[in-house]
């Protein structure tokens, strides 16, 4: 007989939830309290544990589906005389009393359906997230290649000893852009719901585009010293990326011009200018699932080294889809690095809740006039966008100049502004 687990109201007055990820598959043996599924409500993402031990008979939806509270979430054959039962083959009939199996052992059976994802328990996944470790780069020593807590410790230890050799993600690049994902732009004809990450992007962009009167200022800067810094720090085993320099420069410009670290908010008395207390810089990252903007909180407390490390951790979690709500909210300014996709010029859209954005293009050697003669220099094309309701051209130019001067001569960051 089967236990029908209906989507519960796990908040206060929830109506629906989205299935983010199934942690079990049909045919799996599950233990009582074993995590079955991760769901996303409008309040939080939660793992729902199994109410019973048994064999999974059916799932109530696919990943990405939204279920209403009360809808069937999962059917588990637990041998009980439960409610009405759909017909099923005798092969799935469990013994009277199902021994509770540890989650570690049973979760292996669904590896086939999720072969691309490294195997690890939810607890290990969470810990990896906390440590900023990308599970994709780890070889598991557990049964069937499962990644154990010990493997995380080993990976951490080896990362600590491997200073300087790490690949730097999402940095303005002089090299060829990254290869396009094979599924990029691939969708069959027909209607497709705007949901999950796509839905969030759609809503945010529509809101920004319709509400914020954008102005943009585009220019190029000589990145010779910036690249020189990167090369020389790399030689010392202390990697520094141009993006990290941009983050630190932007944080200090936002502190110098708080009116840019702000947004327009509607209130009962009409629109207000809200100046943010903290400086939190979002970094637009292209992932297979779409654009995500993880946030470096309190970026004004970072130096170029800690910013490089923090960006690396965020980028790793973004690639594995392990970003939590806290990672994705609270941004007060955004940097988008379309240079990593090969772009030179763009006019980026400001996210809701912010007043400005910095776009960085691909660094490339170009001719420039230096002291009356033409020289070839690596130029970094950039674009600043601002909300003209609260930022006028004079403020935008002053804000821009502060960042651009720091990028052109990163040693300025060692000197108080």
């Amino acid at each position: 007989m089967s236990y029908h687990f209906h989507l519960p109201d796990i908040g206060e007055g929830l109506e629906e939830a989205e299935i983010v990820e199934w942690l079990v598959a049909v045919g799996d043996t599950v233990a009582r309290d074993q995590a079955l599924v991760e769901v996303l409500t409008d309040k939080a993402s939660s793992e729902l544990p199994s109410p019973t031990a048994g064999v999974v008979v059916a799932l109530g939806g696919d990943e990405g589906d939204r279920l209403r509270v009360g809808d069937l979430l999962i059917e588990i054959d637990d041998g009980s005389a439960g409610d009405a039962d759909p017909p099923r083959s005798e092969a799935t009939a469990p013994p009277e009393s199902m021994p509770a199996e540890p989650a570690e052992a049973s979760a292996e059976s669904h590896s086939a359906s999720r072969a691309s994802r490294p195997k690890a328990s939810p607890a290990t996944r969470r810990r990896a997230r906390e440590l900023g470790i990308d599970l994709a780069g780890i070889t598991g020593t557990g049964p069937g290649g499962r990644i154990l807590d010990g493997d995380l410790d080993a990976a951490r230890a080896s990362a600590a000893s491997r200073t300087g050799a790490t690949a730097v993600p999402a940095a303005p690049s002089t090299t060829a852009p990254r290869g396009d994902a094979p599924q990029l732009g691939q969708l069959p004809a027909g209607r497709h719901p705007l949901r999950g990450v796509r839905g969030v992007i759609a809503r945010n962009m529509a809101q920004s585009w319709s509400e914020i009167p954008h102005i943009h200022s585009l220019d190029e800067l000589d990145a010779s010293l910036l690249l020189d810094l990167r090369t020389r720090m790399e030689g010392m085993g202390r990697p520094v990326t141009p993006l990290a320099v941009a983050v630190v420069a932007a944080a200090r410009a936002l502190r110098a011009f708080p009116q840019v670290n702000a947004c327009v908010e509607g209130s009962a008395e009409g629109d207000e200018m809200l100046v943010h207390e903290r400086v939190n810089i979002g970094l637009a990252v292209a992932t297979d699932g779409g654009l995500v903007v993880p946030v470096l909180h309190d970026a004004d407390g970072l130096d170029v080294f800690s910013a490089t490390t923090a960006i690396e951790g965020l980028a790793a979690r973004a690639r594995t889809g392990d970003l939590g709500t806290a990672d994705l909210t609270g941004g007060t300014f955004t940097i988008t690095n379309y240079g990593s996709l090969g772009g030179r010029w763009a006019t980026p859209i400001i996210p809701p809740g912010q007043a400005a954005i910095l776009g960085m293009g691909r660094i490339a050697d170009r001719p420039v006039a230096v002291d009356g003669s033409v020289e070839v220099r690596p130029l970094l094309p950039y674009a600043f966008g601002a909300d003209h309701r609260i930022v006028d051209g004079d403020l935008l130019e002053a804000f821009k100049r502060s960042i651009v001067e720091d990028l052109a001569e990163p040693l300025r960051l060692l000197v108080d502004p």
Partner: protein
């Protein structure tokens, strides 16, 4: 200074481990849609257990807020039974029958504090030697009821112990936005009785503070305000996502000072605890919990049960409501 004996500390750890594993199971039940919204206990175990172990369950009263019941095992298994009834929404969960000296959960912040003062005053009028221990949180200290209760308690000199579980967060409000005072204990100065601050992750220290306050109350010297500083290791409630506002580094630091781990390590070092004992205690805690939950679910629920525990006897209006209710539902009275 009264430190608990090794045997008492062992008893405390049994209760703390029990509360911890039962809380996890209760959380799971909530995520399975089988109990309502609740506030996890994680991180508060030492302060609650340490405090009630300094009390005499036959004489002293405990007034919980809403996070404490799983740690009140010292007051008997009936507390768990009633707490689980409460969690499944059964009105009987709001009634803790005599001789239990425990009041039901209180959701309206700080309203239990005036109750405690009134109860303590009642005990003195009845020449009852018991004292009243009342729990509240850092957020509750901003409520008017806190100041009214503290003022009356000081003026009346009643045998009450105010125990503030300062877990650093009032839902998402951190303590520095809660008060500009040096501490929550410092607020006792305004009431004219002692305020003390203890390490709420140290069950023995809380035991000692409550024991001293209890002696004081029994000697007729009046109330004490105790602030137990600790850290909320879980969510505020099942409807809360603390990852949105709790700095991960703060949480990680707090986890390194987990109160259950701390006492366990101390007792392991003394040879009073080991993995086998721990496993046994956890297994028994879950058995007790599962039995209690089964009993709670099997508890009959009459259609008019919601009126059963409002007053000792129905008023005329309640009696009419009860009749109409039963007529509407066609059900039988309880």
């Amino acid at each position: 200074m009264t430190r608990p004996t090794d045997e008492q500390r062992r008893g405390m750890l049994v209760d703390m481990v029990t509360a911890r594993v039962q809380a996890q199971r209760l959380w799971n039940l909530q995520r399975q849609g089988r109990v309502g919204t609740l506030a996890p206990i994680d991180g508060h175990e030492a302060a609650i257990v340490g405090a009630v172990h300094a009390l005499d369950p036959d004489h002293d009263w405990v007034i919980p807020q809403y996070r404490e019941p799983l740690a009140l095992r010292r007051y008997g298994t009936e507390v768990l039974d009633r707490f689980l009834l409460y969690n499944i929404g059964h009105p009987a969960g709001g009634h803790l029958p005599a001789p239990l000296r425990v009041l039901p959960n209180q959701i309206s912040l700080a309203t239990q504090l005036p109750h405690a003062v009134g109860l303590a005053k009642g005990l003195t009028l009845q020449h009852d030697s018991g004292v009243v221990l009342v729990f509240f949180g850092d957020g509750s200290s901003s409520e008017g009821d806190f100041y009214e209760a503290g003022n009356f308690a000081g003026v009346l000199g009643v045998p009450v112990i105010f125990l503030c579980l300062n877990n650093q967060w009032a839902i998402s409000t951190p303590t520095h936005l809660q008060t500009a005072a040096e501490s929550f204990a410092a607020k006792a100065a305004a009431f004219g009785f002692p305020g003390v601050r203890v390490d709420g992750n140290d069950a023995g220290a809380v035991y000692d503070a409550v024991d001293t306050a209890r002696d004081r109350a029994r000697a007729g010297s009046g109330p004490t305000l105790i602030e137990a500083t600790l850290y909320r290791l879980g969510a505020h409630t099942t409807a809360d996502d603390p990852t949105r506002y709790v700095p991960p580094e703060d949480l990680e630091a707090a986890r390194r000072d987990d109160p259950v781990d701390r006492l366990r390590e101390e007792l392991v070092a003394l040879g009073l605890w080991d993995d086998a004992v721990n496993a046994e205690v956890e297994a028994e805690a879950l058995d007790i919990f599962d039995d209690a939950f089964e009993r709670a679910c099997a508890m009959p629920l009459s259609d008019d049960a919601m009126l059963d525990h409002c007053l000792a006897e129905d008023t005329q209006r309640m009696a009419r409501q009860r009749e109409r209710l039963l007529a509407d539902t066609g059900g039988a009275g309880g």
